[in-house]
Subunit: 923 residues, 2 copies
Amino acid sequence: MNVSPAAERLRYILNEDDDMPTPTLFTEMDTLQREGGELEWKESARWVKFEEKVEEGGERWSKPHVSTLSLHSLFELRTCLQTGTVLLDLEGYSLPQIIEEGMISPELRDKISFVLLRKHRHQTKKPIHRSLADIGKSTSSSSECPAIGNDYSRSMNDIADSPSSDQLRNKFMKKIPRDAEASNVLVGEVDFLSKPFVAFVRLAQATTLGGLTEVPVPTRFLFILLGPHGKAKSYNEIGRAIATLMVDDLFSDVAYKARDREDLIAGIDEFLDEVIVLPPGEWDPKIRIEPPKKVPTADKRKSVFSLNELGQGNGAAGGGGGQSEDEEMPFCGGLYLDIKRKLPWVPSDIYEGFHLQSISAVLFIYLGCITNAITFGGLLGDATDNYQGVMESFLGTALAGSVFCLFSGQPLIILSSTGPILIFEKLLFEFSKSNGIDYMELRLWIGMHSCLQCFILVATDASFIIKYMTRFTEEGFSSLISFIFISDAIKKMVGSFKYYPINTDFKPDYVTTYKCECLAPDLSEFTPWLRRSQSNVTGLDWSQLSKKECLKYGGSLVGNTCKFVPDLALISFILFFGTYSMTVSLKKFKSSRYFPTKLRKLISDFSIFMSIMTFVGLDMLLGLKTPKLIVPTEFKPTRPGRGWLVMPFGKNPWWVYVASSVPALLVTILIFMDQQISAVIVNRKENKLKKGCGYHLDLFWVGVLMAVCSFLGLPWYVAATVISIAHIDSLKMESESSAPGEQPQFLGVREQRMTGILVFALTGVSIFLAPVLKYIPMPVLYGVFLYMGVASLSGIQFWDRIKLYMMPSKHQPDFPYLRHVPLRKVHLFTLVQIACLAVLWTLKSTFLAIIFPVMILGLMVVRKMLDMVFSQHDLAWIDDLLPGKDKKKKKDDDKKKGKEKKKPKLDDSEEEVRNSSFCCPPQ
Amino acid sequence: MNVSPAAERLRYILNEDDDMPTPTLFTEMDTLQREGGELEWKESARWVKFEEKVEEGGERWSKPHVSTLSLHSLFELRTCLQTGTVLLDLEGYSLPQIIEEGMISPELRDKISFVLLRKHRHQTKKPIHRSLADIGKSTSSSSECPAIGNDYSRSMNDIADSPSSDQLRNKFMKKIPRDAEASNVLVGEVDFLSKPFVAFVRLAQATTLGGLTEVPVPTRFLFILLGPHGKAKSYNEIGRAIATLMVDDLFSDVAYKARDREDLIAGIDEFLDEVIVLPPGEWDPKIRIEPPKKVPTADKRKSVFSLNELGQGNGAAGGGGGQSEDEEMPFCGGLYLDIKRKLPWVPSDIYEGFHLQSISAVLFIYLGCITNAITFGGLLGDATDNYQGVMESFLGTALAGSVFCLFSGQPLIILSSTGPILIFEKLLFEFSKSNGIDYMELRLWIGMHSCLQCFILVATDASFIIKYMTRFTEEGFSSLISFIFISDAIKKMVGSFKYYPINTDFKPDYVTTYKCECLAPDLSEFTPWLRRSQSNVTGLDWSQLSKKECLKYGGSLVGNTCKFVPDLALISFILFFGTYSMTVSLKKFKSSRYFPTKLRKLISDFSIFMSIMTFVGLDMLLGLKTPKLIVPTEFKPTRPGRGWLVMPFGKNPWWVYVASSVPALLVTILIFMDQQISAVIVNRKENKLKKGCGYHLDLFWVGVLMAVCSFLGLPWYVAATVISIAHIDSLKMESESSAPGEQPQFLGVREQRMTGILVFALTGVSIFLAPVLKYIPMPVLYGVFLYMGVASLSGIQFWDRIKLYMMPSKHQPDFPYLRHVPLRKVHLFTLVQIACLAVLWTLKSTFLAIIFPVMILGLMVVRKMLDMVFSQHDLAWIDDLLPGKDKKKKKDDDKKKGKEKKKPKLDDSEEEVRNSSFCCPPQ
């Protein structure tokens, strides 16, 4: 690159004091106007980063927008600076002083001073208030007549050197950085000038020049443009041009460090060189351009002018800091490193939990957890003849969950019973029963063996396998789990139509013909034994018995309504679908225009809670007997015969203790895969977690809890994907935007242990909450489940790619991978993923469901084979590269002089969109 | 304005052949690339109006976007044109010829020719297809080896002078205007040049240069930039710059008419002068800017250079064509003018109806009409003791509607019974009954008087009053009608909860205790007469009777289920809400990304039909006895005693014939107001109606139909606001966008008579459609009504302003009036409107409802009073000005040298957003 003289100048001055950052500039532009025969400066626009214009008629600020300038005005500004007065590092503590000292045209000085010292009217002041106040003042203070002397002193008074109360009261101040200084642009038409008067003033010290600026920010720069009548529009545009320049990161640096006029002009030239030009035929200049989501930092532009340019430039282009993480670590001590990494965060893990958002997260996840506990508890009870039931499920969830949240490496993970474990328990129970082996003791030994095996996996750093879990595997797994969630929720809903059948033939007019009667059994047909047992009910009034009683006492139900239940199925559907769609709508409410941002955020955060409350309320209002959430109210094992502790010896032969290590191996693999994949999903780079992960520590505690739960006869627990994602989603943080127009950025997740602990503490005391919980209808909770499933699908690239099938290519969103990978390859990749999921879904429905998490290994194998079908370039964009290939590719690239590699490197913004799956490398 | 030399040049050349418009240019940019050791030109971008880039990796076209250029490349281009070869009006019929003739550097000519004649690869050709085709070809035709001779001839062959089949097959052709010519930009790096070679060629005749362009469009311009290696990015940017210039309306004019190099450079200078500049710190150049909704026409820019600039400029700034319509017309002959205006449109009124969209409109409006006919028919039947019932309602709707649609001034208006008429009939019937006057005869006389009065109103051009109906009145009225629609729909829905009460205490377990039995009356208690009448039923099996029969025969219903109906209320709610929300979702589907645009439009157009079908299907599937749409199946008057014709004389004393003119006056005012306000709403400027309105003609036919309906004893009909709006909404047309990236524009409404006629013809034959219609549940139709009400509210400024109350000012949309009127004034205006509506709503619920349309006069008075509270400037933005004030203001403005007036005049785009309410002035 050949260096222009302007660049040479900039390079010199920008390197002068490289260590001292220049303050942020707030720019205000005031124009001279005649209001009721009196001249005054009226604020017409301001810039923190983007432009806000005063809407004259509307008496309001416009929305912040990108300043669109005309090229003409920039060139005129350049000429202005070339010919006008430039005063750098002027000493002056008040506006009169500056004017006296600085202005070099003595014959015009008085007139210009007079104009410059006119009162400043800012947009904050309501015109009506002001005129009323003025009327009041005019009697006590100086008169309102336009005599020069009077006005001058009044204006002098107005332009004081301490901030006025109006300034201090201005709420806009909080949008301006603390260290900010002001630059004031003053443009106007006057009648005493024949050619424009231009002055660019930099003060030696930033000084509060009274009411000059709308906020109490000291002024550092002044740009004055006064000219003859007739070109107001042109002056205005020049004023906007310099104002935009002053808030430009690079030009403001130049302005602070400029030694002379030429430096400033070099700054304009550099600005012009970087400017983006829109053709007049393709854009309407009247459209206000919304600020972009992200603005490139000026550092790149600045780096061109830094002296050690070459060295730094190469460094940046080479391997970033991120690459170093990929280094091979010794395969041991992962647990130690995990603990070392997590220990410093312990205090913040506690205090960062105290936030309003946590409340909504706790309520949401709590409801999810207890619904899950009840569902799985019920199923486990059926499967194990109540050896483990709802009570055990609650206790186990509370115990395992809270211990894990207290000590684990990733406390955002929520533990829960999962499908594969349930199937394992079922098979195990049947096996024990048919072989006369004590189930609880066998289970204890399996748990102990499994715990031991987990420890071995931890000690050998076996979690390295997750390196091979690319987006393909990870998204495949989480989509599948989400689909299962959704299909379960819908199945349960459909089930209520079976449980409460609707009498579709009901004719309102024939209400008289509908009945269901309990008929006494014809005792004569029964055996004497039966007759004896029934003898105590012969005295019953059969017609008064309820359905259950009737069947219990051997009666038979006769009638055309017996098998129908009115209204319950339909109201269940309304509750289910209502909860789901209200939650979705309220979540979306955040991006609506109504109500202040904070309130909207609150509504969005508490959307699930509000939906649940609404439909619980509706259900109570109607008073229908919908199925409700019933939690156990007494603290005792579900099966009367068992105690709270399982003894390891005495009931089974000795060889069972040893042989149980074989099924334990299956459980271990099962738990390992389930746990680690969920952990990978939680630790996704997209979530911007700051406290790092702890795969080894997590697994360690899962192992410990295995053993503990086995001793207590409680179910086994492992990370639950969908609920963990919901947990993270409900704890997401966004930046409060600072400069007007800047978009809020996703900052990360509120990483702490408090929400998890609270959720499981609440689960533990649910026994006492039963009187409250019994008002919650189950369909409402199924609606919440449906929402969880759907929400965890959103933001998954796989899901986005499925949607692409239904979009004509010209309507497809501008995903980065679509720019770089042919659509048919993207479709092929998606198709492979869909096929894999279809196979998994089918297997899941068979007895193979028990090895379901193991099948994820199959996904990883498929992914490995894809390396043969797709180019590494394509895979790098759609998926992530496998670790081995990555290195190989790196070497290839180095050989090929990095042509291919350079492209993604240059596209910083795109690079960031492609997220790798690890928050931290498994050591 | 001082004229620069560049402008002087442009002014000269652009005025040369002002009468001949230049063709549209399609620009294609090809870059030189080495593919497998062979050089070839690869298409990298194209422009019809906006830029479409080839996504290299993605092998696809990017979305059309605004070309963002760097200032640097524009200046480099300027230099290129200053120093490079410029050949204007070159004769040449093939690329080799042009090269031979044109290129002036003989030593490089061969090498450059060789490069330029390389094969062109366009994005339409899939690389895989091509290479396969090539493999096939290579055996039969020339070899693939890179020998120069061979390649040259092969390329020569490729660059033929007739369009290739690939070109002809290209579907993109339909996006390019028919008269278009091509400009080809060729940029590339070569190794034999030490400094760039630049050529700008304009051919004397546009010529098809074989495979040069991807579409069979003849080439007129060629821009060639070849240069040494290492600056590909810079060449690319220069290529993009000239390509963008070539599609600029003004520069392409210059390019066509340029006499020499200097003219072209003047064109660039003009372009640079108009360019819009984005500061580098506020915008990321990587963001592709979506094409704006509307682009300013180049005419304004061009007009600066036209010779008769001053004359034209003043003319445009003065009064536009729209103003002339405001001239005072003589207050007579309005009917004649209406007919004169509508007559030429009669043929198009017929043939424009043949469109797919019409089908959906007919189905939608038909269902709305018959639901309305049934509802009002039922109510009228109750009110008039079945003198007018559902049958009369159907017949009247069909008759009045079809006659009106055939002959009226505005066939988009749908006639229907309205609330005020219903109340009038009710009061009239009660009056006749209590005073022994024959109702039908009295009604006939009122109808005749009213018809006469309508004729008088038509003859005196009384419709001038609608001039005073500003947005305030119009939107107030239509909002009120919409609210009534919405509240009626909801009321009917809530009604079904009363009609089918839910047994909320139902306990499924106690199903045995629920029954409802018909008990025979205790005959001994009755009088002998009753006993006699009952005697024939004593033999009945009471327990087998239905509810109705039981009550009919005097039995009593005993039991706890008698007053409850299961499921029907809830399923009604599901059908109602489902229809509404599915329609809303499907309507929104038009703006989704899924499926091709045409299919989406179809789905959106038929959204109501699809929703109805879906929920009718659901209802049939469930088979519940929901209330269905029952239309009369026999053609006979509802009340057995009456015939189809009412005789004017004989039943009432003579004075009644005269006195009936007094109530007729009320009816006339009622009809006049209702009819004309609805017509004003239909004729809104927003709807962009092209065939003009016909207030007088409309009123004439309403009058005629009054008389006819009175003779036949049918209800009276008048324009129905909400259904008419729905009719218009379902007939809206949008432009099929031509250039890629151009937004579809709202073109207007499919104005024709066919849909209306069909709707009412269908209504007439509904008797025969009864077997189909009986499957439609009423709740589904109430859902349609709810949708109609809500949809007619959207797009109403009043409604937008109500929403503003709930938005913090910084989130408010950028409505033009908010820029010019202080928010508190906007809020005050809205508040006045809300207060007016609240008063009207309250009155509507009392007996005053009969004079409801007359109360609209009250709205107009309130609006008149607002002139005292608000400034004319504010009212001009929020509302429209009243005609008198408008003129006055005009005079004021003229006095004030039009300062205030000039502002809105300059803002063309904003001006258009402010719509006045008339499509044409009432003469």
